[in-house]
Point group: C2
Chain length 306, copies 2
């Protein structure tokens, strides 16, 4: 199988590098990191064992890449408008595209762009960052949930799952909506609050008031999911997610890094779309709507700051 | 009538100075500003005409003050525990105590301390600040609503209203609950959001997202008031309050100044108590509960910072 990685940031870089290290045929599309990676390879500084891939298949332009059997998309969703340019050169009729991206409603939006492509969601439970070109810092966790959105080819999906496992990645296939919303139960509270309160996950959980707020936000997401028919998510998941996060190293979610570096934040797919979906199902998300408004305000100001 | 001013900050200083300038017999309790005011008097830099009172009745200790007919309390509610010490020396059997303080539930708490004292609420619609000892800066507006809580003496109340008007203060007597909640419709959104988003009133209303959030928070307060029987407050009040604020000069509400100077914030009476009262009436305030939690988190951090 040929693997293509679009968006070789922290997430795309980590999973792509793990697959490549396990001997899979992986092709990386790079942007700002191209020179570094083409010359010196890709480095993963990992709590689970650091490694370097001295020679990787690095590309500056998607048009130069081979058609792939599986494409992992690690782009930020704020760059979703680039997909109609970046994705077509990698597509074969049966290519499976895995969107390892944050949010809810991502697959529906990409399916509109590419009505016939096979799509799956990749939900990464991982603490990872890229602060230097060509160096992925893996801080904690590392599992990935895969949810089938429109893959008709069971063998392709099975092959992907086997390759991930083979690469030492804890991977499991989960029901699509459950996968997206389960991740949202973590993402929606922690990404937004880390920006609104300028705090890492540990600080948010150490304070009684913000701890209670995290929990209230999680319950709101679980309520939305259940209103949309995802009954596998029950209220006790909030406590499990909090326990999971307490066991993590102090972490700045990706939205906090975007905010700190004055980059656009993934407000649209992390907040606006799930809130709209829930509202269509008659479920109001007042706290998360408030957080969305706060983030829009913060982004409007921070993007103007050099 | 003898007037006593407890808490000669921006609010107590402004209304006390206006009364004194009009020839009323006003006695000021001062703390950090005592030396300055006793020596140089009280200065009001005002958009409506600046003036100085070269000699004022200034006191360092409440025990030295005369019994008063009306006491205006301009203390921050975070200092409410000082009232059992500060208030008794000023009290006669028929003294009317006017609490010009922020929040909901203030009178109930003070009545518990002083079961027989006559109480009224003073709701100041004014932009005022005190950044230097002995100098009150009056930036905009200036009216005051008085709501009778437990005053049995109609003549005393009428006298107060006449004196305020005589002193050039736009004053009107309004129903108590309506007065407290009407002010809360402005205070609860703007005080908290100015801290949470580090923004002045104009910035909060210039951005589409935060403008919508201000409005949503106002509607939540109006909903709570109505659930508690204050039916004079109708949803269109939100639009009128926003129009009123748009016409104001850019303003940092008092809670923002407290936050900036690492002082305790008036979270208890501005958020915790009204939210609890509404909940008892079966009305949930999810957005304002969230704002309360954010403020508790911010305060926990800022009070630790020197």
């Amino acid at each position: 199988m040929f693997y293509g990685i679009i968006g070789t940031g922290a997430i795309g870089g980590y999973y792509g590098a793990k697959l490549a290290r396990a001997g899979k045929d992986v092709h990386f599309l790079l942007h700002s990191d191209y020179e570094q990676v083409a010359t010196n390879g890709l480095q993963v500084d990992s709590v689970a064992g650091s490694f370097t891939l001295p020679a990787v298949n690095a590309y500056r332009r998607a048009a130069d890449m081979p058609p792939c059997d599986v494409v992992l998309v690690g782009l930020k969703t704020v760059n979703q408008h680039l997909l109609p340019t970046l994705l077509p050169p990698l597509l074969k009729p049966d290519t499976l595209v895995v969107l390892i991206q944050n949010g809810v409603g991502v697959e529906a939006a990409v399916q509109q762009m590419f009505p016939h492509v096979q799509l799956a969601a990749g939900l990464a439970f991982i603490c990872v960052a890229k602060n230097r070109p060509g160096v992925v810092e893996h801080l904690d966790k590392g599992s990935i949930d895969i949810g089938n959105y429109s893959c008709r080819d069971a063998a392709r999906m099975a092959h992907l799952m086997a390759d991930l496992t083979d690469a030492g990645i804890e991977a499991r296939e989960v029901e699509y909506h459950e996968a997206r919303w389960r991740k949202a139960v973590w993402n929606m509270p922690f990404n937004g609050l880390s920006v609104a309160l300028r705090a890492t996950t540990d600080a948010l959980l150490a304070d009684e008031a913000s701890h209670g707020l995290v929990r209230a936000l999680m319950l709101e997401v679980i309520g939305a999911a259940r209103a949309l028919g995802v009954e596998a998510l029950t209220p006790e998941l909030a406590d499990r997610m909090i326990a999971y996060t307490l066991a993590m190293k102090p972490y700045s979610p990706s939205m906090k890094l975007d905010f700190d570096y004055h980059r656009p934040m993934e407000i649209e797919f992390l907040y606006t779309r799930p809130i709209a979906l829930a509202r269509q199902a008659g479920f109001d998300m007042p706290r998360l709507s408030m957080l969305e408004a706060q983030l829009r305000f913060e982004e409007g100001r921070t993007l103007k700051t050099p």
